[in-house]
C-alpha cells in the first residue's frame, strides 16, 4: 500500500536524522584554551597537588564567588585533568540546602551557617558537623547614577535614610553636608534593592544595622525587609537599572559596578572617606573576629572600623564542608581543590578577578583546617 511505503520513507528519514545527531556529537570540543584570553593565566599550575583525585565534583551556592571559582577551575583543571568540578551559582541558600541534603561535596555561602543548619548538618556529616571556611572576600559597592556628580561621600546614617526613603532628593541637607563641593541636583532619589533573596542584601543590611542602628530599624536578612522601594532581579539587574535611571542608587558586588556606574566613598570612623576597592575590603576583613566554634571559622565583621582605608561593607564567602565524614568518593578531590584555592597561588589569583584575598592570619587557620578534613 502506498501509505506503508511512505511510512518506510519516514523511517529512513528518522534514521538519517538520528545518525546525523549522533555524528554531531563527535565533532564538539572542550578545548577552549587557544581562543580569546581564555588561557591568559596558564602558569603556576604545577604547584597544585591533585592528591590522586578523580571524578565529578559537584558544588553549588553563592553566585558572588562565581568568577573566582571560574578562575580557579581554569587553573585547577590544567593540573588535574581527572577532576571535573561543576559549580552551580544558584545562590547561597540553595547551596546550603543541597549540601545538607547530601547532594554536593561542598557549598559556597555568603553567610555563615545558622545554628539550626549546623544541627541539621550532623545527619549528612555522620556524627561530625559542617564548618565554614572563609575563602573569598569582596567589597559591596554602592553604585549611583547622578549626572554631573563624579564623586560622592556618604556615611552609614545617610545611606540608611536614603534606602529607608527618609531622604528623598539628591540635594538633601544631609548629603550636602558630606559633599560640600559637589553640585547636587534636585532630582528624586531612586533607590533600588534586590528583588530576589541574596547574600549581598544580607551583608548590606547587616552593615546598615550594625553601623547605624537608629536610622535602620529593619532586621537584616537575605530579603529586603524595608517596605516599598524599587527592586530588580540579581546584581546584573540592579546594575542595569542604575545605568538606565537618572538619580538611581543601589548596592552590588564591585565587579558589577562598571560601565558608567560610579561608586560611593564611605565615611567611616577613619579620617578619610574610604573607596570601595579590593585592598580596602581586605583591610576590613583583617579587622573582623572569628566567632565560629571549634574548627568553624565564621567571621564577624566590624562595621564601625577606625583603621584607615578599611571598607566595611564587605562580603565574605565561605566554603562549607564537613569537618569529618565527608563523602568518601569525593573527599580527595574536595581536599585537593580547597587546598589549592586556600593556598598562596589560589588567593593570589583573587585580586585580578576583583575579589579580596583573606588576610594571612585567618588564611593560615583555614589551611590547617583543610589539612585535617576527613
Amino acid at each position: 500500500m502506498k501509505l506503508q511505503r511512505k511510512n518506510r520513507r519516514a523511517l529512513t528519514l528518522g534514521a538519517l536524522a538520528v545518525s546525523g545527531a549522533l555524528a554531531l556529537t563527535a565533532c564538539g570540543s572542550d578545548d577552549t584554551g587557544d581562543n580569546g584570553d581564555g588561557g591568559k593565566k596558564s602558569n603556576a599550575a604545577s604547584n597544585i597537588d591533585c592528591n590522586g583525585a578523580k571524578g565529578q565534583l559537584m558544588a553549588s551556592g553563592s553566585s558572588a564567588q562565581k568568577n573566582a571559582i571560574d578562575a580557579w577551575v581554569a587553573q585547577y583543571r590544567s593540573a588535574c585533568k581527572d577532576v571535573q568540578l561543576n559549580y552551580k551559582p544558584d545562590g547561597s541558600g540553595a547551596g546550603i540546602t543541597a549540601f545538607l541534603q547530601g547532594q554536593t561535596a561542598f557549598a559556597g555561602s555568603d553567610s555563615a551557617l545558622k545554628p539550626e543548619e549546623i544541627e541539621k548538618s550532623k545527619k549528612v556529616c555522620k556524627s561530625s558537623q559542617a564548618i565554614d571556611l572563609p575563602m573569598v572576600g569582596g567589597p559591596i559597592a554602592v553604585g549611583y547614577n547622578v549626572p554631573g556628580v563624579d564623586s560622592l561621600v556618604l556615611d552609614a546614617k545617610t545611606l540608611a535614610d536614603i534606602f529607608n526613603n527618609k531622604i528623598k532628593t539628591w540635594d538633601d541637607k544631609a548629603i550636602e553636608k558630606l559633599n560640600p563641593d559637589a553640585k547636587l541636583p534636585g532630582t528624586k532619589i531612586q533607590a533600588f534593592h534586590r528583588s530576589d533573596e541574596s547574600g549581598t542584601t544580607d551583608n548590606f543590611t547587616k552593615y546598615l544595622k550594625g553601623a547605624a542602628p537608629d536610622a535602620w530599624p529593619h532586621e537584616p536578612g537575605k530579603s529586603w525587609e524595608a517596605k516599598g522601594g524599587q527592586s530588580a532581579q540579581g546584581s546584573s539587574g540592579v546594575a542595569q537599572q542604575v545605568k538606565q535611571t537618572a538619580g538611581a542608587i543601589s548596592y552590588m558586588e564591585l565587579s558589577y559596578a562598571k560601565e558608567g556606574i560610579k561608586t560611593v566613598d564611605l565615611k567611616t570612623g577613619a579620617k578619610e572617606p574610604v573607596k570601595a576597592t579590593v585592598d580596602n575590603a581586605s583591610k576590613a576583613i583583617a579587622e573582623s573576629k572569628t566567632v565560629g566554634e571549634g574548627k568553624d571559622l565564621a567571621l564577624e565583621l566590624n562595621y564601625k572600623p577606625t583603621a584607615e582605608g578599611a571598607y566595611p561593607i564587605t562580603l565574605v564567602t565561605y566554603e562549607i564542608v564537613c569537618e569529618k565524614g565527608n563523602k568518601a568518593d569525593t573527599l580527595a578531590a574536595t581536599k585537593s581543590f580547597l587546598t589549592y584555592i586556600a593556598g598562596q597561588d589560589g588567593q593570589a589569583l583573587l585580586k585580578d578577578e576583583g575579589y579580596a584575598p583573606i588576610p594571612a592570619e585567618i588564611n593560615t587557620k583555614v589551611r590547617d583546617t583543610i589539612k585535617a578534613l576527613s
Binding site: 541558600g93 530576589d196 533573596e197 525587609e225 524599587q230
Partner: protein, 341 residues
C-alpha cells in the same frame, strides 16, 4: 443571526461512543477484536499513567504545603508579608499570599485584555484576510515566536521595552490618572502593567496559533452558504467562523492564560516587586506567584521552600478554577462544533 451549522441529518448517536460501564457492553464499543482491545488498553493505560503522575505531584505538593502551613503564624490568605524565616518576628514564620493573588490576577487580566483581541485579529488575518502567499509565512513566523524562550522575552522586556514605556505611562496618568488605576508617580516603569504588556506579547503566538488552527477547520460549506446569501466577509466571519471557533478561542485563551499565570523568569526580570498592593497598575510594586517563587527560591532554606510550594499550590488552584470555568463555557457552546464533541 446564527446560521445553523450544516449537520447532515445526524445519525442517532453512534452506539460505540456511549458510556459503557459494564463488561458486557464492551462488545457494543467495538472493542471485541484483539487490536481494538490492545489499543483501548494502551490509551486507557496512558490516561491512568497520567493520572498517577498527577496524583503523585499533587500529594507531594499537599504534603509540603501542610508542613509549611502548620508553623505559619500569619494568616495565609490575608497577610501582606512574606517572611518564612521569621526575620522580623523572632524566628516565627509569617507569610501570606494576598499580594501575590492580586498581582497574578491583575497582570494576567491585563495580558488577556490586550492579547485576545489582537490574537483573534491575527488569526483571522491569516485564515481569511491575508493574501495567500503571505498567510503561510506569517503563520510560520508566529509559530516561531511561540518558541522564543521566556528568558529571552525577559531580556528583551527589561532592556528594550521597559525603558520606552515612561512616555506612555505619563500620558495615561495625564488623561486617566483620576481613575486611580492609572496613576503614575514616576520611577522605573517596571510595574504590573509592564508585566501585563510583556505577558500579552508572550501569549499572543499561542492564542493566535490555536485560534487560527480552529478557524481553518470551519466547514467550508458554512462559509459558502453565508456567501451565497450575500453576506459580506465580516458577516461570514461573525456568523459562521466565530461561532464555530468560539470554543477554540476560549481554549486558546486558556492556554495563554495558563502561560501568563505561571510565567516565571520573564516576570522576575521585568517586575520591580514588593509586598504591597497598589491600586495603580502603573506604579512599581506587587508580585506574582511564579515570580515570587523564582525570586525567593534560591536563597530559601527548606522551610522557606515549603512556604513557596504552598503558594505554588494556590497558583495551581487558581489555574484549576479558570480552566473549570472555561470548560463550562465550552460545554455550553458544544452545539457549534461540527464534530462528535
Amino acid at each position: 443571526m446564527d446560521i445553523p451549522t450544516d449537520t447532515p441529518p445526524t445519525p442517532a448517536p453512534v452506539q460505540d461512543d456511549r458510556p459503557t460501564p459494564a463488561e458486557q457492553k464492551r462488545a457494543a464499543r467495538g472493542a471485541t477484536r484483539p487490536g481494538d482491545r490492545i489499543f483501548l488498553g494502551l490509551s486507557r493505560g496512558s490516561g491512568i499513567a497520567l493520572l498517577a503522575i498527577m496524583a503523585a505531584v499533587a500529594a507531594f505538593l499537599a504534603y509540603r504545603t501542610s508542613v509549611a502551613l502548620a508553623d505559619n503564624t500569619g494568616n495565609f490568605f490575608t497577610t501582606f508579608e512574606w517572611d518564612p524565616a521569621g526575620i522580623s518576628s523572632d524566628g516565627k514564620p509569617v507569610f501570606g499570599i494576598a499580594v501575590l493573588v492580586f498581582g497574578t490576577i491583575v497582570s494576567s487580566i491585563i495580558a488577556l485584555v490586550i492579547a485576545v483581541p489582537v490574537a483573534v485579529g491575527i488569526a483571522l488575518f491569516i485564515s481569511h484576510y491575508a493574501p495567500r502567499q503571505l498567510a503561510a509565512p506569517i503563520a510560520y513566523v508566529i509559530d516561531l515566536l511561540a518558541a522564543v524562550p521566556s528568558i529571552v522575552y525577559g531580556l528583551w522586556g527589561a532592556i528594550v521595552v521597559a525603558p520606552n514605556l515612561t512616555g506612555l505611562y505619563s500620558w495615561l496618568d495625564d488623561y486617566f490618572g483620576w481613575t486611580g488605576i492609572f496613576e503614575y508617580q514616576g520611577g522605573a516603569p517596571r510595574s504590573l502593567m509592564t508585566v501585563g504588556i510583556l505577558l500579552a506579547i508572550m501569549i499572543l503566538p499561542i492564542i493566535t496559533n490555536v485560534s487560527r488552527e480552529v478557524f481553518l477547520q470551519v466547514p467550508k460549506f458554512n462559509e459558502e452558504a453565508a456567501l451565497a446569501l450575500g453576506a459580506t466577509r465580516w458577516e461570514v466571519i461573525r456568523m459562521a467562523v466565530l461561532p464555530f471557533g468560539r470554543s477554540g478561542i476560549i481554549s486558546a485563551s486558556m492556554l495563554g492564560l495558563g502561560r501568563a499565570l505561571g510565567e516565571t523568569i520573564a516576570v522576575a526580570t521585568v517586575l520591580s516587586p514588593s509586598f504591597v498592593i497598589n491600586a495603580s497598575v502603573l506604579d512599581y510594586g506587587g508580585g506574582t506567584f511564579a515570580q515570587n517563587i523564582a525570586s525567593k527560591f534560591s536563597e530559601a532554606d527548606e522551610y522557606g521552600r515549603d512556604a513557596l510550594i504552598a503558594s505554588g499550590l494556590v497558583l495551581f488552584i487558581i489555574t484549576l478554577l479558570v480552566n473549570g470555568a472555561a470548560r463550562l463555557i465550552i460545554a455550553r457552546r458544544k452545539e457549534y462544533s461540527g464534530a462528535n464533541a
